[in-house]
């Protein structure tokens, strides 16, 4: 009889199976097989058999490795140390097969051979290595040009969409910004010293293909200030092919578009860059020329106060190399957060607790209506002593 009757069920069906993948490694690596058998055990018990990790790491790094131990007795799980290395992905998850093959070779040597490709933050997750292997594995990774990402209370691995590599909408150089910022913040990524995690994600346009505003403490999203550019000839061509242009215009959330059968007119100041018309008519409509980024703060998942979506703190910022302004802004925010946050308080929660007013003042950002959907409904606002004396 199979040792993994429950997991075997997950080899069935048309979709490619992670169990099959695990079995491939289990077949050659007893260490990997132990993990597989523990997983089967979890399927039987309906409970995880991993317990809290002690602190593990590699020399000079506090982050990038997740310690993980089995809670099963040694006779059931002879290799209880199954740590994870979070390896920083190249910008936009582009790879040469050469680089990928090298990575596999290293991982074949030191770990289970399982890869979580990729983790939700963006890293390549090398899933499962004993403590003793962490340091040599790391060193060999570095030697082939890979480095660890973040984990714990540090700046986490960034991520970005493919942007200018294939997409006509990208308003910023996402790949370059990703790489540049990642290099700029190496120390903050690798050495946890903050109150909690801090995530930065970069999308080239408002489609936000890395869901930055939902998942990043700081989201950098490409945008433009002037009018969308409409190629009227191309619009008419779409119309000729039977595309219902009126319907597309009607979906514009701000009624900024009008189609008279010949020309698609836009009221530029009414366009909120929602991307709907660009997506519907990719050959005909393009972003404007005055490009930059919007910066949103505070996105995060559930813990502690429920999930937050990032909100606008800078409606428009120039985003040209070497990204000085953006880097300075991030540093200021990190410092302020570091000084003011409680343990395990994300930046969004800190701003909620102290108020945008306090945040904006500390960072030196001007309040603008783009930061809010609606002004406050309660009369509970503050006056600083200086303001009172001005009047």
């Amino acid at each position: 009889m199979s040792e993994t009757p429950l997991l075997d069920e997950l080899e069935k069906g048309p979709w490619p199976s992670f169990v099959k993948e695990m079995k491939r490694m289990a077949a050659v690596k007893p260490y990997a097989k132990n993990v597989l058998l523990q997983l089967e055990r979890s399927y039987r018990d309906k409970i995880t058999h991993w317990k809290h990790g002690g602190i593990v790491g590699v020399r000079g790094y506090g982050g990038g490795v997740i310690g993980r131990y089995s809670d099963l007795p040694p006779e059931e799980m002879p290799t209880p140390e199954v740590h994870t290395l979070r390896v920083a992905q190249p910008a936009g998850w582009f790879y040469s097969t050469k680089a990928l093959r090298k990575l596999c070779d290293v991982w074949e040597k030191y770990g289970t051979g399982f890869i979580n490709l990729h983790g939700s933050t963006g890293d390549i997750i090398l899933l499962g290595a004993p403590t003793a292997n962490l340091q040599p594995c790391f060193e060999e990774l570095v030697s082939i040009g890979f480095d660890l990402g973040g984990s714990g209370s540090d700046v986490r691995s960034l991520s970005c969409c493919g942007g200018p590599a294939f997409c006509q909408w990208s308003c910023i150089d996402t790949l370059d910004m990703y790489h540049d910022l990642t290099m700029e913040f190496q120390d903050e990524i690798h050495r946890p010293r903050f109150p909690y995690k801090f995530k930065i994600k970069i999308s080239g346009c408002p489609n936000d293909c890395v869901a930055a505003l939902a998942r990043a403490d700081l989201a950098i999203i490409g945008t433009w200030k002037d009018s969308i550019k409409i190629d009227q000839e191309a619009v008419r061509e779409y119309a000729k092919q039977g595309v219902n242009i009126s319907k597309i215009a009607a979906r514009c959330p701000t009624q900024a578009l009008e189609w008279d059968g010949k020309e698609l007119k836009v009221v530029p100041e009414d366009c909120v860059r929602c991307m709907l018309c660009l997506s519907a008519l990719p050959k005909a409509i393009l972003p404007g020329d005055e490009k930059g980024a919007t910066i949103l703060l505070g996105g995060k998942a559930t813990i502690l106060q429920g999930a937050f979506l990032g909100w606008v703190i800078v409606p428009f910022i120039k985003a040209d190399k070497p990204y000085t302004e953006i880097k300075e802004l991030i540093r200021k925010i990190l410092d302020w957060w570091d000084e003011n946050a409680r343990t395990r308080e994300r930046i969004g929660e800190l701003v909620y607790r102290l108020g945008m007013r306090t945040f904006l003042k500390a960072i030196g950002l001007p309040p603008v209506p783009q930061m809010i959907y609606v002004p406050r409904a309660n009369p509970y606002y503050f006056w600083s002593p200086e303001e009172l004396e001005e009047k």
């Binding site: 399927y43 991993w50 790094y61 040469s96 890869i115 570095v142 936000d208 813990i303």
Partner: protein
């Protein structure tokens, strides 16, 4: 010896210029438009008139090194030794020679990798590690993902749904991934307060951090035993205390369950929205989680039947109203659907303008 060794650190990721297909680099920032060729295939055309086909295939997120090497083999044959992975963890082959498409598709088919996930299709499911590797996992996200995928397979390979369909699964309510802004999502949930192990708490945990970790202030210090006490009435089983302290054991297979969420989305075409509670309890039933799979199918099919073209699940619900959503899907409405956390009041219906069903 070790004193002499120089540790190289902070090298950062490989530089993208070495990783991006040369043709993409050549046309970098000069793209003109894209076109959906077929499910899974997008043609990108540059200002120079150059054309590139991105072919998207799904992978089981947790793979072996052999699998990766096989992907590399394919990429060497069809996309000049370059691949891209997407933010939803699909793989993409960058095909510059149109004639290679057919061969690539054939090989992918042979390897059992579904091609699709572009346009108005089921996208790759964002999921987390579950029992494969996480200590707080209530359910096994990879297993549930596989079970769902098998059932929803065809939707990945079609692109004629009313809108994109983005599913996410988190094995615990830390919600790694994108659960909180997905069209449909599952989250593993506890239903019993943690059991305090005073010995572990007093030895291993920082009491103030532990007390502060509780969103509902259900934990208070018990200095006499250097431990804590849980007010069970206030506990809603989030497990955050367990995340910060192993002495707060919260797993309980008898009661642990799965919840289902619907209607989230990101930024395009209007402000983003959170996923919202659809079903508070579904049995945690591995290996194939039939109840959860069925629950997803029910919502998806009701959506396909009733939504207008262009409407993602959330758009559709916004149009018809939540009262109608519960009627059409037959999902029972319970007190659990009504928010009672910090920002609850703005979710209360402050008007008589509603539908009867």
């Amino acid at each position: 010896m070790s004193g002499e060794k120089k540790y190289i650190t902070d090298v950062g990721p490989p530089h993208y210029k070495d990783m991006v297909h040369p043709v993409l680099l050549k046309n970098y920032g000069k793209w003109r438009y894209h076109e959906y060729v077929a499910p899974g295939i997008i043609k990108h055309v540059s200002l120079n008139g150059e054309e590139v086909y991105m072919v998207r295939a799904a992978i089981p997120k947790i793979v072996s090194i052999y699998f990766v090497r096989e992907l590399c083999d394919i990429a060497d044959r069809y996309s000049d030794g370059y691949v891209k992975f997407t933010s939803r963890h699909n793989v993409e082959f960058i095909v510059t020679d149109k004639n290679k498409l057919e061969g690539l598709l054939k090989e992918l088919k042979e390897k059992g990798l579904p091609v699709g996930g572009t346009g108005r299709s089921l996208k790759a499911i964002i999921h987390t590690q579950g029992w494969v590797h996480c200590h707080t996992a209530v359910i096994d996200a990879p297993g549930l993902a596989k079970a769902l995928y098998d059932e929803l397979y065809e939707y990945f390979t079609r692109d004629d749904l009313p809108g994109k369909l983005k599913i996410a699964i988190a094995c615990c309510l830390n919600m790694c991934g994108a659960v909180h802004c997905s069209d449909l999502a599952f989250v593993g949930m506890h239903r019993k307060p943690p059991i305090v192990n005073d010995d572990i708490v007093s030895r291993l945990c920082e009491i103030p951090t532990l007390v502060a970790s509780c969103p509902t202030a259900a934990i208070r210090p018990a200095p006499e035993k250097k431990s804590v006490i849980v007010n069970e009435e206030r506990c809603m089983y989030c497990g955050n205390c367990y995340t910060v302290c192993p002495g707060m054991f919260i797993h309980n297979p008898k009661y642990d369950c799965i919840s289902m969420w619907v209607g989230g989305k990101a930024n395009a075409g209007g402000p983003p929205d959170f996923s919202r509670l659809a079903i508070p309890y579904l049995p945690n039933n591995p290996p194939r989680f039939p109840e959860a799979v069925q629950a997803a199918k029910n919502v998806i099919e009701t959506w396909i039947k009733h939504a207008k073209p262009g409407e993602r699940i959330g758009d559709w619900i916004k149009r018809i109203g939540w009262e109608r959503f519960f009627t059409l899907t037959g999902i029972p409405f319970t007190d659990k659907h009504i928010d009672d956390f910090i920002f609850s009041v703005p979710t209360f219906r402050t008007t008589t303008n509603f539908k009867w069903k």
